[in-house]
């Protein structure tokens, strides 16, 4: 008999050794102190240890999960040449369509629309082929390439940012999932991912042009009856625009550039609503000496106004574009009050130079003796082509302002004092050195070929994560203890064997998680608890059967054989259905849910091994040993 059992014990022993070996890195990592960790990290051993240990999910460790979607319509629109109204309108209607039914496939909608509107694609995309079908196929490839490039660039940025164990992966055709476990400052990481990093240099329109244009915008908008609604009717409970009218001081168009200083005092006394009717645009703005201020509270209204089609048409006719400064700053007004304001710039609509020419970007503090002394700045150096263009541009525009624009926000707009050769330049206007460092990272990694939208974002703060771990572990341990004690009391000797198998089951599930490099999430812990339940159930089914057999007067050995044989089909059938549920969950689930399904799946498989095979082997050995009298069950 002993001989027959030996291979079974050998198998169990091997599995046990494998389980402990797989779990070893996790246990070691858990018991290390901070100092020991630092020491290991210096030796470069920490990483290999971590890679073999069970990973904790974002919900346990804290961290961020971000799903980005590459803006394919904008990508395709950007690579078009000779863009005109017709093409723009195609993209506008596609965007509308996607907004209404999000499942719309861009390329299907695109090819339908160009057929309907009889747009000749070869006009805009002659580099991509001659027939519309060819072009669309080529554009599809282009879009796929773009996602890969986005993936690569984001990877690059994250690497330079320095986060332990980042996960960046493609999902489907236009999504990228980024998981940053344990990231402390999620805001910085977010900004780093979201930024397109499109750096552009534009000339600022001169004051007279700007001044004239403001008057024109006022005139256009005055005719537009829907405008009054911007401050009055647009007052739905959730989304109202606050122009904070009654006590606001306002400026006239002429005052904006100090042309009619004498009247300024009277003008500013005018009640906003009256002025608004007269000058719907400039009444929302403030004069900041040489620039136009947009009070933070009016920013939304102004954005709405400058996006109106009639204003857009007018902007296009003079080849200009409005852009905001990247952040609002405090300004002291005439009456001594302080207001947060953005600066509004009227720029050329063609960039003189783009970030493609940037060779190196470094964050620094501004050198002494300059205007940016002590301020965080980013130093740029350009390649030879960029440096040449930069020199020509600055040389022929001395005295004018050049705006340095990152992701459509003006960072600074210095006056060109002299021709800059050599291709060096600097950007200022950062809140702190961290922001400057991050901008330098994105500029080095390069611009994304298309903008990305954050479509899903989940951040778990470190304190919630720690709390979850504590509570999760606690409830597992309490639940486990109660179950173990109950089974021991209820089934005595047999119960101790079942308890042994149960602990085994947990060890093996964790060992599998470690060797699969799976991630343990909070729902995963719940799955572990359910596994405990399933494993106990198998043993309960077996033990109740053995008791029945014993009641029929069978010997212990026969009862065990009979009990196991009859319980087997029940256990397999019952577990199979749960296994089906686990597989379906795994297929359907994302992140945490998948973690739950993984644990449940392996938990059930292993519980069949431990609750049937392992306990049976022990039972047999127990019954076969010398001096065995009675089975205590």
């Amino acid at each position: 008999m002993q001989n027959k059992l030996t291979p079974r014990f050998l198998l169990i022993g091997l599995v046990l050794v494998w389980g402990l070996w797989s779990l070893w890195p996790t246990i070691k990592l858990q018991t290390l102190s901070e100092n020991e960790k630092n020491l290991l990290s210096e030796q470069g051993d920490l990483e290999s240890l971590e890679s073999r240990a069970i990973k904790q999910g974002l919900d346990l460790k804290g961290g961020m999960y971000i799903a980005l979607e590459v803006d394919i319509p904008t990508l395709i629109e950007n690579i078009a040449i000779n863009k005109d109204r017709k093409l723009t309108s195609v993209f506008e209607s596609i965007r509308q369509e996607i907004l209404i039914s999000p499942e719309t496939d861009f390329f299907n909608a695109f090819s339908n629309l160009i057929n309907d509107k009889e747009v000749k694609l070869s006009r805009y995309y002659y580099d991509y082929g001659s027939s519309s079908d060819d072009i669309i196929t080529a554009l599809k490839t282009e879009a796929e390439d773009a996602i890969d490039r986005v993936l690569e660039i984001l990877q690059n940025r994250i690497d330079q940012f320095g986060v332990a164990e980042p996960t960046i992966q493609k999902q489907g055709t236009q999504r990228i999932i980024v998981e940053l476990a344990g990231v402390q400052n999620s805001e910085r990481a977010r900004a780093l991912l979201e930024s397109t990093a499109l750096l552009e240099f534009y000339l600022v329109k001169d004051i007279t042009t700007t001044n004239d244009f403001m008057i024109k915008v006022d005139q256009i908008l005055k005719k537009d009856n829907s405008i009054s609604s911007i401050t009055k009717d647009a007052d739905p409970p959730k989304n109202k625009i606050d122009s904070d009218s009654s006590n606001d001081k306002t400026v006239s168009v002429s005052e904006l550039f100090g042309a009619a200083e004498s009247s300024s005092e009277n003008d500013s006394a005018i009640v906003n609503q009256d002025m608004f009717a007269e000058r719907p645009f400039s009444s929302l703005l403030r004069n900041l000496g040489n620039s136009i201020g947009v009070p933070e509270k009016n920013a939304f209204a102004i954005r709405k106004l400058i996006n109106k089609p009639e204003v857009n048409d007018r902007l296009a006719s003079i080849g200009a574009n409005f852009l905001f400064s990247h952040k609002a700053e405090e300004y002291v007004l005439n009456d001594g009050s302080v207001e947060n304001m953005y600066t509004l710039y009227l720029l050329d609509d063609q960039a003189e130079l783009t970030g493609g020419v940037v060779e190196e970007a470094k964050a620094n503090l501004g050198p002494q003796g300059t205007t940016s002394a002590g301020q965080p700045i980013v130093n740029l150096s350009m390649n030879s082509d960029g440096a040449r263009k930069w020199a020509i541009m600055t040389g022929s525009n001395i005295g004018r302002q050049v705006a340095i624009v990152l992701d459509s926000k003006v960072h600074m707009a210095p006056n060109i004092r002299e021709k800059i050769s050599g291709g060096g330049t600097l950007i200022e206007g950062f809140a702190n050195i961290d922001e400057a460092k991050d901008i330098a990272i994105v500029l080095r990694a390069g611009a994304l070929p298309a903008p990305v939208d954050i479509i899903e974002e989940r951040v778990v703060g470190p304190s919630l994560g720690a709390d979850s771990v504590k509570r999760g572990t606690q409830s597992v341990l309490i639940g486990l203890a109660i179950v173990l004690i109950f089974i021991l009391l209820y089934y005595r000797t047999a119960g101790s064997i079942a308890d042994f198998a149960l602990i085994w089951n947990l060890v093996l599930v964790l060992a599998i998680l470690a060797s699969l490099q799976a991630t343990l999430t909070l729902p995963g812990i719940a799955g572990l608890i359910l596994t405990v339940g399933m494993s106990i159930d198998a043993n309960v089914i077996i033990f109740e059967r053995i008791r029945e057999e014993l009641d029929k007067g069978k010997t212990a050995k026969a009862a065990i054989d009979g009990g196991y044989n009859r319980a087997l089909t029940t256990i397999v059938d019952a577990n199979m259905t749960t296994l089906i549920a686990a597989l379906v969950l795994w297929q359907f689930g994302t992140g945490p849910i998948r973690g739950f399904a993984t644990v449940l799946f392996w938990g059930i498989l292993i519980s069949m091994f431990t609750a049937i095979f392992v306990t049976r082997t022990i039972f047999n050995a127990f019954v076969n040993r010398k001096g065995f009298k009675k089975l205590n069950i």
Partner: protein
């Protein structure tokens, strides 16, 4: 120690009472679901923004709510005083959920968190990172995809299980099991609706676990019925079913009890994140055990009697 040794309860005689009770609870749940226009879906499925923050001392939900009535973010004014504001786990923490707003400002969640931070400067911790427990945004696009997937998951699980039981047992057993599952899910959904709890992503996982658990229980009884049918061909069908339920009763009680204890502890100690998941499981364990006896087995008897006549 042994409980329920050689029990011999006449389960099937209580059938009218049990079916009446089931019918009543399912009906109440359905009425509540209808009145509320379907289950209360969380922002996981509808899209929206959520923020949970932790103050250093106790905070009153109504005070927070009043501070939410007029928030200016990037020049846009918002009134969130009607949205969901509640304590999150303990009295120091609050969570706020806001449905999706078209063209909402970028980094909306963080800006709401900053507003909450500034609204109670005396109670806010020094570090913003300690203040924010969790936050996030889900676009309706993701939400509608998830709803589709969740429905797919539930139905494909049911179909696969139906198939498995039909192969291993008989088709009428499969129908019995599916009826019991539908009953369990309906009651859990109804309870969530009555208590106005939200259906979030983890709750879908809980539902599928309930499906697995309830089936597990049902199949143990079915297995006994299958076995007893072979050995006692002359007995009345319903008697065989009743004695099968009795024979597996002690197992049913022990397993349900241990599972109940485990999920109950999870419910009490598991923390805020897992609280509702555990609650769904508690209902599932109770209803799942009950439905194996009164829904699944009853239907199998009914189908059998119908097929004979």
């Amino acid at each position: 120690m042994r409980i329920l040794k050689n029990s011999n309860f006449d389960f099937m005689s209580k059938k009218p009472l049990a079916l009446g009770l089931s019918g009543f609870i399912v009906f109440a749940g359905l009425i509540s679901l209808l009145a509320n226009g379907g289950p209360k879906l969380s922002i996981d499925f509808k899209g929206g923004t959520f923020v949970a923050v932790q103050y250093t001392e106790e905070i009153n939900v109504e005070n927070v709510r009043s501070k939410m009535s007029n928030i200016n973010i990037d020049g846009q004014n918002f009134d969130f005083s009607k949205e969901e504001v509640k304590h999150f786990g303990n009295k120091n923490a609050v969570s706020i959920r806001v449905p999706h707003i078209e063209n909402s400002p970028s980094n909306f969640a963080q800006k709401i968190a900053v507003h909450l931070f500034k609204s109670f400067p005396n109670k806010a911790p020094d570090d913003m990172n300690e203040f924010v427990l969790s936050k996030g945004k889900i676009s309706p696009k993701i939400g509608s995809e998830l709803s589709g997937k969740a429905v797919m998951a539930i139905f494909s699980a049911l179909a696969l299980i139906l198939l498995y039981i039909s192969i291993r047992f008989e088709f009428k057993f499969a129908l019995g099991a599916i009826a019991a599952l539908t009953h369990d899910i309906l009651i859990t959904l109804g309870m969530f609706s009555l208590l106005s709890y939200e259906i979030s992503l983890p709750i879908i996982a809980a539902f599928l676990t309930i499906v697995g658990y309830s089936l597990n229980d049902t199949i143990v009884i079915f297995d006994r019925i299958r076995e007893n049918l072979k050995s006692s061909k002359n007995q009345a069908y319903s008697l065989v079913v009743n004695s099968s339920i009795n024979e597996s009763l002690s197992r049913t009680v022990i397993t349900s009890l241990t599972t109940f204890v485990v999920v109950f502890i999870l419910w009490v100690f598991g923390g805020e994140v897992i609280h509702n998941f555990a609650f769904a499981m508690i209902i599932g364990v109770i209803v799942g055990t009950y439905s194996s006896i009164y829904i699944a087995s009853t239907l199998v008897i009914y189908l059998h009697e119908k097929s004979i006549n």
